[in-house]
Symmetry: C2
Subunit: 481 residues, 2 copies
């Protein structure tokens, strides 16, 4: 049995030896994803896609509860539209895919595959909007986008990815800012309550903000290797696009006004975050509410009378409670093989049920997150399991928060920062002058970027710890994906 | 009030005067869709998209119940892959969009935007499949596809559309045929039970089948103008793609074998079908189970004490039962204006509640499908409304079936066929020799195509009614979208 355990684990590189290879091994061995014949484009296999479906379903409900409606805008954007907002085109033009031929004909104007949809959506908004009475516009779309990336990694950075993009218009600046922060908060809430990932929330620096935005807000997570993952962004676009696209309306006073605009998105990148925050050397560890399979039932000595019947009974009891459960009664594989298989796949709870358990009126329940295993009474079993899933979630969030906090450090000066960032990488909290030149110098010299100016500021001093000028903000810095 | 009614209706061209213009007026006036700056590409607005979401949700559940899993394959397909299956490339190459540049670089090989994904999926399947033990593969994806069309109409034929495409592999020919028919049946069931559209089910002729298929099965609906709409197809691809892409596996006997392959899809085209089967001169008539808003509540004299309270109470009672309900208490518009607005938008039931209704403990309920209106007791109101939605659905399916049957005719000979097809267009049932040359002649001379060889054959004679040769099949013919 011990040998069989190793059959799986030996194929996964240890995290501490080579983190990027560990990541690649995990996503391949657990059948989440595969590389496609088009460089940088991935195939999301059912076990990876089901995680995305759970994220979608959670967010879509929240979007609708906050008054948003879904719609769908074209995949292709004429070059002339992409060019309308100056900062935006500079940010995106170098990384778009160009369609030049439709069928057998060369197109009069090149079309790019959307890298994001502000331009095409603003073009439509400018046709539609006439009066303040029609505002706000609260629209979202689920789709794929293409950004031609040089170096790609499945989920984290791919030339095509799945995401949602919300695009809203408001009558006032205040409403737009409120919307921007509301959606950021929806993302933070999703990260914590669905993915069990704690987030640092804050504002991006001028250098790191979205091309065309007035302000970009972000949720940032810390991975096991001490690198940050930008996990979702919400942009206050002010009137930048509205003016470029001439979106206007008759206001309350009869004057022609420009609306205030927001956009916000999260993508399949989140799946990479789930893997890198919770995973271990045995493979995936999935938070219960996003796991495709929440509970796996493995019958022991399944040929013995009554075992499969009881296993099926338990399955039904859990299903009725809305739990995603799989009964693996495949007779070609041993129970031990299955234990390891589902452990690697990160299934939160494993239930073992055999003749002895049945006679004791219990089932053995093993947790993936901390390997605890104990017999649980079959009386009220479904509800016990349901509560246990919540406990596992809570414990995983606590553990991830502890991990992040342990990897978060302050520093005395730039030299100390450099040493710590190399030796014990993670989030560095420090004071910064707010100047782009200083930020670029840090990035160039260390590869570390300012992740955000957090909403929860702390006063760690009065001078910039990088250049000595007066400090303006406390910031979080990290290497990042 | 009568004048206000006309404000809406006068903007919609009458069906009998100009059916294509009626269709365009309805989709624009009801805010389902808009034209985009890219010719042939449409924007699906929330009221149209919500219908698609209801179709997705219905089908996705059925797909999962029949053992299918969702996944996601790349948007772009290398030209060399598209070329692998001979008939397939001939069918699709003339209508694909080509990506030639990624960012600032010219690509070594052109990539097409998927017109359908058989080729890229088969390429992956050939990497994955090793043993019969892994079969069947039961995968589906929800995505958009691009086919460069010359003449387009929103929902019915657009250069980009949303769809699902299922792609399965099986060990035996029998299993593949069973799957092909099972999914066709899922589509037929969805059409009848969700969209209230009766379907003729059958097999496509050799000429009309999918490029690369062994056999294509179809569901065909009849529109108000007597034209047919191919509404969903399910293909038995035999081993054509498996051989072209060298997908093979070790079979039960140890021999290397090719799997049997199916694919099946429905698209946003279905929304066009809903409009053209059920709509009338006042606008949309939506079947209750697919309607974004199933019930609209319009308070009468809403400033009077207790009216809005009661309206909200009813709203909650309906919501608890899972009914999609909207309470329109906008004080800027009159009740009459609202009646017409929601009538045009095809909301199945309208509830009017005013002071007199409240004192009588009733609400007025008006049906969109037949304009019946009656007071309904507020005792057990929610359940009465729920049952009424089912009744409306049943009546709409009955009406659509009657409409189709009235437009279905038999004919004595080719000349009679031509006259009837011009004078009272619809489905023609007739005997056909089965030869491609004969089929092409009919199409060239009349614009009519063979829609399918129905599963429910009738014997209408022994000779082909078009060319006089011995008859092989009874077929349905129609002009089509």
């Amino acid at each position: 049995m011990a040998k069989k355990n190793n059959d799986f684990v030996k194929d996964i590189t240890k995290m501490e030896d080579d983190f990027p290879q560990w990541y690649t091994d995990v996503i391949k061995k657990t059948d989440m994803v595969d590389y496609s014949p088009v460089k940088g484009f991935m195939v999301i296999k059912p076990y990876g896609y089901a995680i995305w479906e759970n994220i979608q379903s959670f967010l879509d409900k929240r979007f609708k509860e906050t008054g948003h409606e879904n719609c769908y805008f074209p995949l292709l954007i004429p070059e002339s539209l992409l060019n309308k907002e100056k900062e935006h085109v500079e940010g995106f033009a170098p990384e778009v895919a160009w369609v030049t031929h439709g069928g057998e004909n060369k197109l009069a104007e090149r079309l790019c595959i959307r890298p994001t949809s502000e331009t095409i959506i603003c073009e439509m908004y400018s046709k539609w909007l006439t009066s303040y009475r029609e505002l706000p516009y609260l629209y979202n779309q689920w789709c794929s986008v293409v950004r031609w990336e040089k170096a790609t990694r499945p989920f984290l950075r791919t030339s095509e990815f799945l995401w949602q993009e919300g695009h809203t218009l408001h009558e006032t600046k205040e409403e737009a800012e409120k919307e921007t922060l509301q959606m950021l908060n929806v993302y933070k809430d999703m990260a914590e309550n669905l993915l069990a990932i704690p987030m640092i929330v804050g504002k991006k620096s001028e250098k790191e903000k979205f091309a065309g935005a007035e302000a970009t807000y972000t949720i940032e997570a810390l991975m096991h290797d001490g690198k940050a993952l930008q996990s979702g962004t919400s942009h206050n676009l002010a009137q930048h696009f509205a003016k470029a696209f001439d979106i206007n309306f008759q206001g309350r006073t009869g004057e022609i006004e420009y609306p205030f605009h927001t956009s916000w998105g999260v993508s399949t990148r989140l799946i990479g975050g789930v893997i890198m925050v919770h995973g271990d050397n045995r493979g995936l560890v999935l938070p219960p509410f996003v796991a495709p399979i929440q509970v796996v039932i493995i019958p022991i000595a399944q040929k013995k009378e009554g075992v499969l019947e009881k296993a099926n009974e338990i399955k039904k009891e859990l299903e009725v409670l809305g739990i995603r459960v799989k009964l693996d009664d495949n007779a070609n594989y041993s129970a031990g093989w299955k234990f390891n298989q589902y452990e690697m796949k990160g299934v939160p709870l494993r239930i073992e049920i055999g003749p002895r358990d049945i006679s004791n009126n219990v089932a053995m329940v093993a947790r993936r997150d901390n390997f605890e295993k104990e017999p649980i009474s079959l009386e009220g079993f479904g509800n016990t399991v349901k509560e246990l899933l919540q406990t596992v979630h809570n414990d995983m969030l606590t553990k991830a928060t502890r991990m992040r906090d342990e990897k978060t450090f302050t520093f005395t000066d730039y030299e100390d920062f450099k040493v710590k960032m190399e030796e014990t990488p993670g989030f560095a909290k420090g004071m910064w002058c707010g100047e782009r030149e200083c930020e670029e110098k840090i990035k160039d010299e260390t590869g570390v970027s300012i992740r955000c100016i957090p909403f929860e500021e702390e006063n760690l001093g009065s001078v910039c710890q990088f250049c000595g000028k007066p400090a303006k903000y406390m910031v979080y810095l990290a290497k990042s994906y």
